[in-house]
């Protein structure tokens, strides 16, 4: 890491911590007003950057870098993106600090489950070191053992446990108690069996072309997914979209109430 980059990181860190300390010193009302103003300006920037046509200048004073595709705000998109990433970095650091505090307390007070907290610290320190030093020859093996030998199979194992739960859940919970449940079961049967070669074997005797091909299980499954499923998903997607728009407006205009918005934490 070169010295300039290190200095940049340190000054950014100092500036960030200074800013947070200053924010803490403000009175509750002032702090809220500041956050409302910043949220509105940030939202307005992205909205204007998106809707203003290419070539738009700031009263003729600030011309865009490329008149055919940019407006006067476009050159700031990357800068603001970097600022967002730095703020995100602080959130990540806070999360790590929070985890370390909780697990550290459990470990030093020898509370129930302290072994898990110890495992957390060992895993975190080992993975951080291996990740940072992986370019050094001596650490390559350590990194490979931890990442490919431990992290990768552990991740895959946790996810694959789902298969066992799904199988037992299918046996216990999937009951044909009503007409809707029956329809769901028929659809599930068709889609599930059409996904796999054993299912396709059931209608493999039908021709692959002509009207009879549409009776093959994979054709019926494709119809269920591209017609029935798609119509339902479009409806859900439309609802989510409208809700999202309303939610974005509420956040942008600071109308949202609750622990993270109106109330003091």
């Amino acid at each position: 890491m070169n010295l300039v980059l290190l200095l940049k990181i340190l000054s950014g860190l100092a500036l960030g911590i200074g800013g947070l300390a200053l924010l803490q010193r403000l009175r509750s009302g002032e702090r809220r007003r500041l956050m409302v103003a910043l949220t509105f300006i940030a939202g307005l920037f992205f909205l204007l950057e998106f809707v203003l046509p290419p070539g738009t200048t700031f009263f003729g004073l600030v011309p865009p870098a490329d008149l055919t595709r940019d407006n006067f705000l476009s050159s700031w998109v990357e800068v603001i993106g970097n600022v967002v990433m730095v703020v995100g970095g602080f959130a990540f650091g806070l999360g790590l600090l929070n985890l370390a505090t909780i697990h550290g307390r459990t470990l030093f007070r020898a509370r129930a489950g302290w072994q898990n907290s110890l495992a957390f610290f060992v895993a975190m320190i080992a993975m951080t070191l291996a990740g940072l030093l992986k370019d050094h020859r001596a650490w390559v093996t350590v990194h490979d053992v931890l990442f490919q030998g431990l992290y990768q199979p552990l991740g895959a194992s946790v996810f694959s446990i789902l298969a066992f739960f799904i199988t037992t859940a299918a046996y216990r919970a999937f009951r044909v108690r009503s007409g809707e449940a029956t329809l769901m079961m028929i659809a599930a049967f068709i889609v599930m069996m059409a996904q796999v070669p054993i299912g396709m074997m059931m209608t493999n005797w039908l021709p692959t072309e002509g009207w009879a091909a549409s009776l093959r299980i994979e054709s019926i499954s494709n119809w269920v997914l591209t017609v029935l499923n798609m119509a339902a998903l479009r409806a859900v997607g439309f609802g989510i979209g409208v809700g999202w728009l309303a939610m974005s407006l509420r956040v942008w205009l600071s109308l949202e109430k609750g622990s993270y918005f109106g109330k003091e934490m």
Partner: protein, 289 residues
């Protein structure tokens, strides 16, 4: 609500253990021994295969890899199938990810396949590495690729100095975007790349995410899709049929497909059995009262 007796809980536990045991045994058996089962390649996999073939020589394919160890069973064969096709079809490509783990996995696959197929890093492919998935980054990427990515992640070389990046400046120079993912990351490519620049987008999600992709496929916003391990197996089939080169796999998709097949059959049988037991018990109770 009727309370569950300890005997009932014990019976359920016993049943679960039997189901777990049967499922594990069947999966292991089908993963160990490869069986040739009939297979039909769907229109989605075919669409993606054709889209790769249509990429012009002066264009670059962006292989966005956003999956982690949890979905390695599905996402790795998908990534491997696409990388093998890109190498065989002589399409230049760049690995990229908004997930820090994904590009590393893809790089490992690409290095292995490049060595086997005689491809050169920096000429035939490049790894742009990981970039945090902020909207500003995507907007910047669409307008100015070398300015946003700056350097590759292996050699730390200036992107403009690599032959693979010759003539590649913005989203207009991308012939295809391939998103292999286990996260909800497809919309950004559709909105800001396909929507604005018309760049074709292909999708390779995990099986559980497949139903959500159909509206995009229907609207032709996606050129094709590899639906989980089934999609990877279909693509492997297409590659084997169309290329006179032996394909190699870290996780053979056909074998995994057969294991999934038997799991699906078991689930269907268990649903039938569960319903049979439910109705028999229901009838017996009705007869008693």
């Amino acid at each position: 609500m009727a309370s569950v007796t300890p005997a009932e809980i014990e019976r359920q536990r016993r049943q679960s253990r039997i189901i777990y045991g049967v499922l594990a045994a069947l999966m292991v058996l089908f993963l160990l021994f490869e069986m040739k089962l009939p297979f039909v390649v769907g229109p989605q996999a075919l669409g993606l295969y054709d889209a790769v073939g249509k990429v012009r020589d002066d264009q670059l394919v962006l292989l966005s890899v956003n999956w982690e160890a949890g979905t390695v069973g599905e996402s790795m064969p998908q990534t491997e199938a696409l990388i093998q096709h890109l190498f065989l079809a002589k399409k230049r490509f760049a690995i990229f990810g908004i997930d820090p783990i994904g590009p590393g996995f893809a790089q490992r696959i690409a290095e292995r396949q490049a060595e086997r197929l005689g491809k050169t890093y920096g000429v035939d492919w490049v790894n742009w590495g990981y970039k945090p998935g902020q909207l500003a980054m995507f907007l910047g990427l669409a307008r100015d690729i070398p300015g946003t990515i700056k350097q590759d992640s292996i050699r730390k070389a200036d992107l403009t100095t690599l032959p693979v990046m010759r003539g590649i400046k913005s989203a207009r120079d991308l012939g295809l975007i391939l998103e292999v993912t286990s996260t909800d990351s497809i919309e950004i490519w559709i909105q800001y790349f396909h929507g604005v620049y018309g760049t074709p987008v292909g999708y390779a999600p995990t099986a559980v995410m497949v139903p959500e992709a159909y509206p995009y496929l229907n609207a032709k916003q996606l050129v094709g899709m590899l639906a989980g391990i089934k999609g990877a197996a279909e693509y492997a089939d297409l590659l084997e049929r169309n290329w006179d080169v032996e394909m190699t796999w870290e996780y053979p998709p056909r074998r995994a497909m057969n294991a999934v097949a038997i799991a699906h059959v078991l689930i269907v049988l268990l649903i039938v059995l569960g319903n049979y037991q439910y109705f028999t018990r229901h009838r017996r109770r009705a007869e008693r009262t």
